[in-house]
């Protein structure tokens, strides 16, 4: 180790130069696609298939000649299920990589962490996940199912089957808190009674006392809006106590991360859900999609609701870029606001110009033998919860997440 100062400086300069290379080299006219998601950590059951869906969509577009003749480059960041990393990587995507569009965010917490950064830097942002509704911001497009599309059909169906006394369990963050209010509203609208609402932080995994409390309240139906790996324990412990045979359950989240395949058939059977997608859909689009997925990744088992939602979001954006003829944010925004429609594995998805949410199909399903069996289909449901409070055509500068007053 007898490197003198000059040698050291040369070496440092060389390393510095080399490390800057990746930023300066690379075709300038390619479209830069930013992706920001948890592909490791506690929420990777959601994120990994979303990442796979994203790569599938981009590869497909690139193989067909790109968008308006330009290939798409992916800048992907793994946020490791850490909400603080979202702002960090979002700043990087917007300031350093200067991407044309950002798709990503899984938990509502992550969306709210980066939404303002995207807005400030005028980077078009797509959030493609089922969520609690109410976001009103012209810079964001949301492709997931909202409570008015999902809860409004799920609750009456479940109550008709089970009864009027309902016990609500929800994850303790913005998604759970707001969704729980929607659930209470629809229970009341259908003449039912909410016995209790319990919130659980995302790291709670021991539900023994909760199960005892639920039994003390003796409800006819449980509605669970629980999120993430730790909360999966609830369904296990619920079944272990033999409760799954006694009190029926509906959920607004279970299954979007393929939880029905992690739980055994014994534990999962009979749980009622409502989403835009099920692997069991027999549409030609879905069959083709499952084949494409299997060709790329071996088998189609890992496809889930929000991966499909993400895929459809990317197709929507791509269609917007095609119609705008450029990736300029304002052009793409105006193109999307004409009410673009695409047909994805989950059916027709149309952009609602007033709210930047999506009009889409919702199916009521039940878990059966680790599958989601489609019971009833509601076509082209409007996001009326957000439509009631948000009109971006009239107030393009609106920038709030409206919460339900109940």
């Amino acid at each position: 180790m007898t490197m003198d100062r000059r040698q050291f400086l040369t070496a440092t300069a060389a390393i510095a130069g080399a490390s800057m290379l990746p930023f300066s080299v690379g075709a300038a006219d390619n479209i830069k696609f930013g992706s920001i998601m948890d592909t490791s950590g506690g929420f990777d059951a959601y994120g990994k298939p979303m990442d796979m869906a994203m790569r599938l969509a981009i590869d497909e577009i690139n193989a067909n000649g790109g968008l308006n003749g330009s290939q798409i480059d992916i800048n992907a960041y793994d946020t490791q299920s850490d909400m603080a990393l979202y702002t960090q990587y979002a700043q990087q995507l917007t300031r350093q990589d200067e991407v044309d569009v950002v798709h990503g965010g899984i938990l509502s917490a992550s969306r709210e962490a980066i939404r303002q950064i995207m807005r400030k830097s005028k980077t078009l942002y797509f959030y493609n996940v089922l969520y609690e509704g109410g976001v009103c911001d012209r810079n964001i497009f949301i492709n997931g199912v909202t409570p008015a599309q999902q809860v409004e059909v799920l609750i009456p169906y479940a109550m008709k089957k089970a009864g009027k006394k309902v016990y609500v369990l929800a994850a303790d963050y913005n998604y759970g808190q707001i969704t729980a209010k929607w659930i209470e509203k629809y229970i009341a609208d259908n003449g039912g009674e909410t016995v209790a609402v319990d919130f659980f932080p995302l790291d709670v995994s021991d539900f023994g006392s909760t199960i005892a409390k639920i039994q003390a309240a003796d409800p006819d139906l449980i509605v669970a809006s629980l999120v993430g790996g730790a909360h999966l324990s609830f369904f296990r412990q619920w079944a272990a106590a033999g409760m799954n045979k006694k009190i029926p359950m509906a959920s607004t989240t279970l299954g979007v991360g393929n939880e029905h395949k992690v739980l055994t058939a014994e534990e999962g059977d009979g749980i009622m859900v409502a989403y835009n997608y099920s692997q069991e859909l027999e549409t030609p689009e879905n069959i083709a999609f499952k084949k494409k997925w299997a060709d790329a990744y071996g088998d189609a088992n890992s496809i889930h609701e929000i991966a499909v939602s993400h895929y459809q979001g990317i197709l929507t954006w791509a269609e917007g870029v095609r119609q705008a003829g450029s990736t300029n944010r304002d052009d793409v925004l105006s193109a999307l606001e004409t009410g673009i429609s695409i047909t994805g594995p989950g059916g027709v998805v149309t952009v609602d110009p007033k709210t930047h949410h999506a009009v889409l199909d919702v199916h009521i399903m039940e878990f059966e033998g680790q599958k989601m069996k489609v019971i009833e289909t509601f076509t082209q449901r409007q996001p009326i919860d957000t439509q009631a409070v948000c009109d971006l055509a009239a107030n393009p500068d609106d920038n709030t997440q409206y919460e339900i007053k109940f």
Partner: protein
């Protein structure tokens, strides 16, 4: 009335699970004055060992009670030989090294099994008490814990091995002068401690969604229970487990699970401030 019975069962179950998750750590700490911060990961690996064995078609009880402790015991043995034995007598350094090991194991398990939640279903059906259903598996955990505590007590109290082990822990120079190799005895103790951690992880696996970072949920509680218990292994475990279990369940039923957890932690701080050497330094002195 039925609810009272349910609450009593839940409380006993929480005490038992606290004792169970702390036992491995307590053996290693009480006997060797080594704090193994990778304890939570040992439990997590016990859980994975059991799940893997069950998925390979092995009987669930064999997987939980035999395979998991063996696998984790062997891992513990390797860890002891490679890392811990160089650090005996350096309490803080062992804490740091085992903390590093815990991160390492989380990473390794993530690479092997993926960072997703897995699990097996419980082998015992629910039990009906009046109008209530109780998780039957809770009773299994309570029984396993009682047997485990009895076994540790008997081994230490009435076998020659236990006598030698206790002797070595108190005066290793004397023991080696008498012809017993302290090195071997430390090794064996660490093996047993790790195996008990593995057992605890496997026993709890059917109740929780298991992921590579599940260990973190256990280590803090186990750490607090053992330190608050103080120098005596068994009396310490039982006394602090009981105090924390009752406090936790009281606040859980009265308010919410989160308040229950926070109450447990606040109680630990108060307890340590009042009895800085642990409960058994003041009460039950000289017991095991």
């Amino acid at each position: 009335m039925d609810l009272a019975a349910v609450i009593v069962v839940e409380t006993v179950y929480v005490i038992a699970s606290l004792v169970l998750i702390s036992a491995g750590l307590a053996i290693v700490f009480g006997m060797m004055k080594v704090i193994n911060l990778a304890h939570g990961e040992f439990m997590m690996m016990g859980g994975y060992a059991a799940i893997t064995a069950v998925n390979l078609g092995i009987n669930i009880y064999v997987a939980i009670l035999v395979i998991a402790p063996l696998v984790v015991g062997v891992i513990g043995l390797i860890v002891e030989r490679l890392v811990i034995r160089h650090l005996y007598g350096r309490l803080v350094d062992t804490m740091l090294a085992t903390w590093g090991l815990s991160l390492f194991f989380v990473g390794i398990v993530t690479m092997i099994f993926g960072n997703t939640t897995t699990g097996i279903s419980t082998p015992i059906a629910g039990i009906t008490v009046g109008n209530y259903q109780i998780n039957g598996y809770n009773f299994f955990i309570i029984v396993v814990t009682i047997l485990l505590v009895l076994a540790i007590y008997l081994v230490l109290k009435s076998t020659r091995l236990g006598l030698i082990a206790r002797g070595t822990m108190q005066r290793s120079d004397m023991a080696s002068a008498l012809g017993y190799s302290p090195d071997r005895i430390y090794m064996a103790t660490f093996f047993v401690g790790s195996a008990v951690s593995g057992l605890a992880g496997a026993v709890l696996a059917p109740l929780v969604g298991l992921g590579p970072s599940s260990g973190g949920a256990y280590i803090a509680k186990a750490f607090i229970t053992v330190i608050a218990g103080g120098p005596s292994v068994i009396a310490g475990l039982i006394s602090s487990g009981t105090v924390f279990g009752i406090v936790n369940q009281f606040f859980t039923f009265a308010m919410s699970p989160v308040i229950g957890e926070v109450a447990l932690l606040v109680c630990a701080v108060i307890l340590l401030r009042l009895l800085p050497q642990g409960i058994t330094a003041r009460f039950f002195k000289g017991k095991m």
